[in-house]
């Protein structure tokens, strides 16, 4: 499940890359400014370039609402792993290259004024590989969603588990799934967005388990690498194998969404998938369940967000607090 890491094989560039980028799909030369304006989607062929975690957050969240959590989480070297280069050196190099501590960023933000718990992966950091830090961030993002009864969004971009952490990385599948199972029992919604690439153990854990699974067009999504599949099995691969559309055809993705529509679709879906208390099924708009009032650790965010949400009149007295509700659910789960 882990990944090959091209990041650590520096090569000389023939041309300075700061001005333009060549579209790997249609070959078009694209000015970076133009590309940025189109959310890094090729205007000619709709090729979706990868996004950094920061760019992804800016794309999805209301401006200025993101509050990072657990920014200080950092990998340790549980195995004392050395190949051509010690694992801590690889991490340090990736940190310098990306400005990130690890391959995921997580926190609380708002989408159309409504708070969400979000975790976003960054393929630039060691191929988005999942070690204990990534697993922990996904788990905590889910726990925050359960505690605050707000939706969980995870954006995956990963080659899989980080092999330098060995079975500690493998166990992150179990860790993240464990929390996601509690999340499901607590009836808190989870949207999984798969971007290029979402493979290996990340696909086989939190990425595939969304209440609704979304994917960007033509993202590589699969469990085993295509070359592994082809090499091992000596079998021709079907056309479009392991691309978003292939996964859609085979029933694993609800919607393949163009990047320009992503935010709109998330907003739309979140209007239906609301943390439920299980007491009714009327589906009527404006029910007080959605009159969420952030508590506890969310108070800082609440100062920014609450005016936009607007608590329903008279609802505050009649509802149990979100914490009471969450703890009640957790015992059942």
């Amino acid at each position: 499940m882990p990944i090959k890491l091209p990041s650590f094989r520096p090569r000389r560039d023939d041309y300075p890359p700061d001005l333009w980028t060549k579209c790997p799909s249609c070959g078009e030369m694209l000015f970076n400014k133009q590309l940025d304006k189109s959310d890094r989607v090729c205007p000619t062929c709709d090729h979706h370039f990868r996004l950094s975690a920061a760019a992804r957050l800016e794309l999805l969240l209301d401006p200025g609402t993101f509050e990072e959590r657990d920014a200080g989480l950092q990998s340790v070297d549980p195995l004392g792993f050395v190949d051509q280069k010690p694992y801590p050196d690889r991490v340090a190099a990736a940190q310098v290259a990306t400005g990130l501590r690890d391959a995921a960023v997580r926190g609380i933000g708002a989408i159309e004024g409504r708070p969400v718990s979000i975790c976003v992966m960054d393929f630039g950091f060691m191929g988005g590989s999942m070690g204990a830090v990534v697993g922990e961030k996904v788990a905590r993002a889910a726990e925050d969603a359960i505690a605050a009864r707000i939706p969980l969004i995870v954006v995956s971009a990963s080659g899989g588990a980080r092999m330098q952490e060995g079975t500690m990385a493998l166990m992150q599948l179990a860790k993240t799934i464990a929390v996601l199972e509690r999340r499901r029992a607590a009836r808190v919604p989870y949207l999984s967005l798969m971007t290029d690439p979402t493979t290996g153990g990340v696909f086989a854990s939190y990425a595939v388990l969304g209440d609704v699974n979304l994917a960007e067009p033509r993202a590589l999504i699969g469990f085993a690498g295509a070359r592994v599949s082809a090499g091992t099995i000596a079998q021709e691969l079907p056309p479009g194998f392991q691309r978003s559309e292939f996964l859609f055809d085979h029933g694993f993705i609800d919607r393949v969404v163009h990047r320009r529509d992503l935010r709109t679709e998330l907003v739309q879906l979140l209007r239906y998938l609301r943390p439920a208390d299980g007491s009714s099924g009327d589906g009527v708009e404006g029910d007080t369940r959605w009159g969420f009032r952030p508590m506890g650790f969310l108070s800082q965010l609440a100062d920014r967000v609450v005016p936009e949400i607007g608590p329903p009149p008279g609802s505050s007295g009649s509802e149990r607090s979100s914490e009471e509700r969450a703890s009640g659910e957790a015992k059942r789960g």
């Binding site: 990944i3 090959k4 091209p6 990041s7 560039d13 041309y15 890359p17 060549k22 799909s25 970076n32 400014k33 940025d36 890094r40 090729h47 996004l51 920061a54 760019a55 800016e58 200025g64 920014a71 200080g72 989480l73 950092q74 990998s75 340790v76 195995l79 190949d83 940190q95 310098v96 990306t98 400005g99 990130l100 960023v105 630039g124 204990a132 080659g159 588990a161 092999m163 952490e165 060995g166 079975t167 500690m168 493998l170 992150q172 599948l173 179990a174 860790k175 086989a204 854990s205 939190y206 469990f223 085993a224 690498g225 070359r227 592994v228 599949s229 091992t232 099995i233 691969l237 029933g251």
Partner: protein, 331 residues
Amino acid sequence: MVDRLLHRGREAAAPGDPRDEVWRRVKLARHLGRPRTLELLGEMADEVVELHGDRGFGDDPAIVAGLARIDGRRIAFVGQQKGADTEENVRRNFGMPHPEGYRKAMRVMELAERFGLPVVTFVDVPGAHPGPESEERGIAEAIARSIGLMIRLRTPVVAVITGEGGSGGALAIAVGDVVLALENAVYSVISPEGCASILWRTADEAPAAALAMRMSASDQLALGVIDGVVAEPGEGAHADVRETARRLKSAIVTRLDQLAAVPLDELLEARYRRYRAIGPYTEVAAPAVAQPPSRGLTDRLRDLLDPGRWAAGVPLPGSSRRDEPPAHEDV
């Protein structure tokens, strides 16, 4: 590939080398004569009733599942099943399950939960089947759902790594209240060959990768991934299947009795905490990133800082797909 699956042709590292010891174990874990789920149960159990089918697509011979009686205790079992020879290996797909194998496992585990039977699993898999049909029918989904089921399954679960614990295909049936391993079993996030070909650029460095990944049972015990190691007789499990089964049976029965004494709610909570807590990390004071600067700027900065990235307009090595390849190689 078939060579590897049949465990032919690979030589150990130089004698005296620390890689030697772990590689010896890898070879034992893959030994063609190593007892598999049905052989072990055949020795251990008074009765074995295999159940078949996933109720949706097929019956995967690479995973066996059913009901058995061990030392008077009725259990449900699930295990991977490699073949004892080439013919059986072909029929059982070298013990590499398709999605329907994991779905059969889930069905039998749910049956066990419904009727209060503890579950014992036997893990011995190079990895889930990596071919197109497996992807088409959702091997990743099946693995993820099986892990999720085992975490919430309201009955005691003992998992035993008996041979190769190969990545997600192993973990899918290896979540438990107690995880045991036979002495020469191995457990890893990727095959040593796969790891070596990525990080050392040659599969020949597999023994070095095996050492680096600390994939032996004793290392996994030290890491806390498994809870107990069952010693193998003589030269290894293949040399004395009956004695191996006897020791394993004793270990399993002891654990089942311990688990039966724990109220289910406590058991479930402890199982949850075990997996929730696994994997070490540290926390440093200062956040690494401030509020993100404007979109695009970060990306361009990183394109400059990280010349290996795709945005540099240079095709990546190993590109074989029409559009931008992620150059990953996962197992």
